[in-house]
Subunit: 432 residues, 2 copies
């Protein structure tokens, strides 16, 4: 592409992030053109309904319902529609024609990322999606490029702002999950149907994308073990606080022998750990690498303008490459590591058990842990009377590292005891 | 470059970082070759004395004193010697011949960065130097690429691990500067001659490099106003703690009207600010951008292996571009902003004054502040007797935002008062 040419941009989608991208492409066109090295022009915005009200109004002649024609006329396509179809077909249409694509579509990338990357590599087009993980926080480029000469061993991320807001509220105000969720909905942090956030699916998509880049292998969302936060109670949060922990929903990708363990689960994080002080709807990603040591990246994980910043960073990098010539840098999945089955995953656990307040109950429980090879680090027992006036003991046990399988077997046996009233919680402990 | 070719690497320097780079290039050659897409070979290491003991021993035939011949035989040059010459001449030799260069030489880049970048742009070679700022923390690539579609308004960085260690020790143990420095020297965090660290020169080089990339303009170390930490006392640290602050040596680059203010100075940072909890010798860089909002990057700011990780990240990116074809991405200094003169810089101040304990002294001082247009936010007065039994008042004033010029004039008048015994400290307050 010669310097005298214009780079024509097609935008798919005009939602919260799309409107901000349209605004910046319009208002900051001179700045973007300076940085790219040639003129940049937004040639159209594909939407389902051209007459709908938008967050930011651009020249109404830019709106079109014919996404394919728009893609065919463009040099670079920015996809911000979300969902699998028609986004997948449209991105493949662009990449196959050698047009580079910026996407923020985490669900699509976590499901069909390698198909899209293969299409890009084949045509020499570029595919970038920094906005798909942790909003404005640069995390994919650092993993892909900055740590390209290092070996990542573990990534621990707070990658969903909604659940972090809810858990932070529960920690700071003592609220129950339902009340904190309602507050998050009132403030616009959580959607009317909060399932994707609170069940951990949103974070799981991001974990799959991060694991690909961190471990140079192909993983999809189907490789991610996922537990949400709906069962976390105010009691769990209070018990964690007593022991010096805070509960966070972490996306965890860690090298594990010859495989990689990828999961999203509520986690006890020690108060001194940098992730413990990530409040409100902020995101943060903690990366451990063999030579670099421990790095952390922190910032707003969502929102129209921050996510648009990530989209436009990718766009400028892509457009400059178009001006300079040379193909996009393909992802290198040479390592081909496999996802570790969850039952082999090893971590520490914090377990809450409610039992009859009788002699010998605690001894019996600790014996069952020992028989299953699960070593106990600390036990705390609190005695009280229940509503019927019966003596009840709340036992909180924190284990040393144990396999998921051994822990589950232990808990199954304990659950079957007559003296055990309820297993109130089983939460992993991370961050040592 | 065809895929069947070997990428030949010349390493200049075999010190702490150089040895680690040599180790990784040797031990991790298969991994690096997979990531680059072709074979990578370390062809030699230029040193002053081939027989010296090294941190990591490689094949001794790799050592040479003939740096020029080594450069001429290489595809990519990694410069880790430090200092201005002969590093500058050698890097120019490589870039002029179209050979890409990775450097960690902050002093050189802060002084002659634009000359080196111009040589790279002219020949289409690439010049990368992530290791020059904040060790393993990816900060230059995020500023240059991830935020390429955004407008950075301010960067606040803890970019010198030695001074952060000293100030952190003073804050947590109450130590005096001299004792904390001695401890840092004992632990190897500070050199026998600590001048470059404690006077802020090291951080000033990094500030100049960061300002270039953040504001797309050409700045050198001569544009950086620099104050070190040698005058910070245990009393200053204790007074800061009383008011809810911690003292950090910050490198600050901020957009200021039509210019950019670049400075390194001891700074009061509120305890709640993310930079306040950066302990020991860790570094962190806090970035504010118009759309992204507030981002923070945190990690080890020095050390052989972490810095080598940054060097090799740059190397892999450069080598992949060689394999794929297309020239390096030049820096874009289109904005050509000027450095703001220090006297026009506006910030808040914390001022310590020791005065005679007499009626009217405080009223007189507050009047002088007002006359110079410096608005006071808080005043705290502590009365005591000195060794001679005379009544002494310690006054601590925190101001609202004021220009450096007005503040200096205010303090000059106050210093001339008969009732003023000493101005004990003048420290800027940042981070709101």
């Amino acid at each position: 592409m010669a310097n005298s040419q214009v780079i024509k941009v097609a935008l798919l989608g005009a939602g919260n992030v799309g409107s901000q991208v349209a605004r910046i492409l319009t208002e900051e066109a001179p700045m973007l053109s300076e940085r790219v090295g040639t003129e940049v022009e937004l040639i159209g915005i594909a939407v389902r309904d051209t007459s709908a009200k938008r967050h930011y109004e651009v020249d109404s002649s830019l709106y079109t319902t014919d996404a394919d024609a728009l893609i065919d006329a463009a040099d670079v396509v920015i996809e911000l529609t979300g969902g699998i179809e028609p986004a997948r077909t449209r991105i493949l249409r662009a990449l196959t024609a050698g047009k580079s694509v910026v996407s923020g579509n985490k669900a699509l990338l976590a499901k069909h990322g390698s198909e899209l990357q293969a299409a890009a590599t084949k045509s020499g087009a570029q595919l970038s999606y920094e906005a798909a993980v942790a909003g404005a926080i640069p995390i994919l480029r650092p993993l892909r490029d900055s740590l390209a000469g290092d070996t990542v061993t573990r990534v621990l991320g707070i990658m969903n702002g909604t659940t972090n807001y809810i858990l932070d509220q529960m920690d700071t105000t003592g609220a129950q999950f339902e009340d904190a969720l309602a507050e998050a909905q009132r403030l616009g942090y959580a959607e009317a149907d909060p399932t994707a956030d609170v069940e951990g699916y949103d974070a799981a998509s991001k974990a799959a994308i991060v694991a690909n880049l961190a471990f140079h292998s192909e993983f999809t969302i189907d490789d991610v073990h996922c537990e949400g936060i709906t069962s976390i109670t105010a009691d769990d949060v209070a018990a964690a606080a007593t022991d010096g922990y805070v509960i966070k929903l972490l996306a965890i990708c860690e090298r594990d022998g010859e495989g990689v363990n990828i999961r999203v689960n509520p986690t006890l994080v020690a108060r001194e750990h940098p992730l413990a002080s990530v409040h409100d709807a902020y995101n943060a990603v903690f990366v451990q690498a063999e030579n670099a040591g421990e790095l952390m990246f922190y910032g707003p994980g969502a929102g129209g303008a921050p996510t648009a910043s990530a989209v436009l960073g990718d766009f400028v990098a892509i457009a400059r490459r178009l001006v300079l010539g040379g193909s996009g840098v393909p992802e290198y999945t040479y390592a081909q590591l496999a996802a570790t089955p969850m039952n082999r995953v090893v971590s520490r656990y914090s377990v809450g058990i409610e039992v009859d307040d009788k002699l010998g109950v605690l001894a019996n429980i600790t014996r069952i842990f020992a028989e299953h090879g699960v070593s106990i680090q600390t036990i705390r027992q609190t005695k009280s009377k229940n509503a019927s006036g019966e003596g009840v003991s709340s036992i909180r046990i924190v284990t040393h590292r144990a396999s998921d399988e051994n822990l589950r077997k232990t808990m199954a046996v304990i659950d079957s005891l007559d003296t055990v009233r309820e297993i109130t919680s089983v939460i992993r402990v991370e961050g040592e």
